[in-house]
Symmetry: C2
Subunit: 195 residues, 2 copies
DNA sequence: TGATTTTATTATCCTTTGTTATCGTTCCGG
DNA sequence: CCGGAACGATAACAAAGGATAATAAAATCA
């Protein structure tokens, strides 16, 4: 347990450097949670109030439209996972989070986090930096969608895949992620490998 | 001047409620700036350090790729405008901001803002809420790009255009914003109005 | 005002993607 | 270990968007 906490602490350290005292404000609310393959971390329509940190496993999140799932993001070990927009707005989540492989998480309730924001400028700063990090990632992703063709997006993904998406995620989910259909992605792969 | 400041203060009030004392931390760094039509607020390749609040006017921002401008956002009176990602990362801006109509802004340097973050939990919270607001908007926009067809995106825009984009922005910029070509957008308009 | 530039529409042609269906293969649960 | 479901590749066809060019309308500005 302690070493799991240590991993989280180091991940938080990428954003802020809490003192022991500040850390003790957070620690009581942490718990470990396991999610089996195909189980859900968060369900569409429900208000989310859980932020997780992935110790291991794989997760995807998807929107549902006309009964069709559109997968738009993947999560791996050592990263935070949450229906963050739902947490911050208090609105029902538009997203469903599903484990693609068994996940071990450290979780804490966002409403407790909000209390920390009020109590401590360090945790308030942490909240800011997390939101900025999120915004930065979304901005980059959106620029790719607006500026690049599907084929270019695929090429960009394979040439910068630090997160092992291609090895660990079924192709039809990746196609969703790139904003194209699985069939089209298969064609692109065919086209690209022949060059 | 004072009434301009009052407008900004009310806009900030949508996020936090500064006391007079907290407000005095910010006020010294505020100034009014005018940008004539076709002039730039921020230039690609330069590190941005300016956050603006639009009192009047219209602005767009665009990426440049192979010498082609891709307009991806518009700004109107009563909203904040900034190459925020560049401000928070300190990296050169990927975006250029151009006034489409003469703009009057209240501006303040982001590096001063960062000092306020350190000094005051209220301003730190303001920073968080701004970033969250940005993330929320980007998330929504990205979901649209991934889930909707160009025609659906156009229809979504015209049916929810609170920002007067359609009336005040040339169509070929809007086409960029929707991720399609101007010609394609013209076809969609034709198709849609016949129904 | 008149000339030039910018903007929007339309037509043509071509490429790409979406859709649907088929066919192996792999994966997984009973 | 077997059988059904999930997955990926491929084919055929339809629909849509991209590229280009021509034209018309509108805005800009000297």
């Amino acid at each position: 347990m302690d070493e799991k906490i240590a991993i989280l602490r180091s991940a938080i350290g990428r954003f802020v450097a809490p003192t022991d005292q500040e850390w003790d404000m957070l620690a009581p609310w942490l718990s470990v949670k396991t999610i089996k393959k195909h189980e859900l971390f968060c369900r569409e329509g429900e208000r989310a109030d859980l932020v997780g940190f992935m110790l291991s496993g794989t997760m995807r999140h998807y929107y549902t439209r006309d009964g069709i799932e559109k997968t738009t993001y993947f999560y791996f070990e050592n990263h935070f996972v949450s229906s963050y927009i739902s947490c911050i707005t208090g609105q029902p989540s538009q997203l469903t989070f599903e484990a693609l492989a068994e996940c071990e998480l450290i979780v804490f309730p966002y409403h407790k986090m909000k209390q920390l924001f009020k109590q401590s400028i360090l945790w308030q700063e942490f909240g800011r930096l997390i939101a900025e990090y999120l915004a930065k990632g979304l901005e980059e992703r959106m620029a790719g969608l607006l500026m690049l063709s599907p084929e270019e997006r695929y090429l960009a993904l394979i040439s910068s895949d630090k997160t092992k998406i291609l090895e660990r995620i079924p192709q039809h989910y990746i196609a969703n992620y790139l904003g194209i259909t699985p069939v089209s992605m298969s064609r692109i792969r065919n086209r690209v490998t022949k060059k």
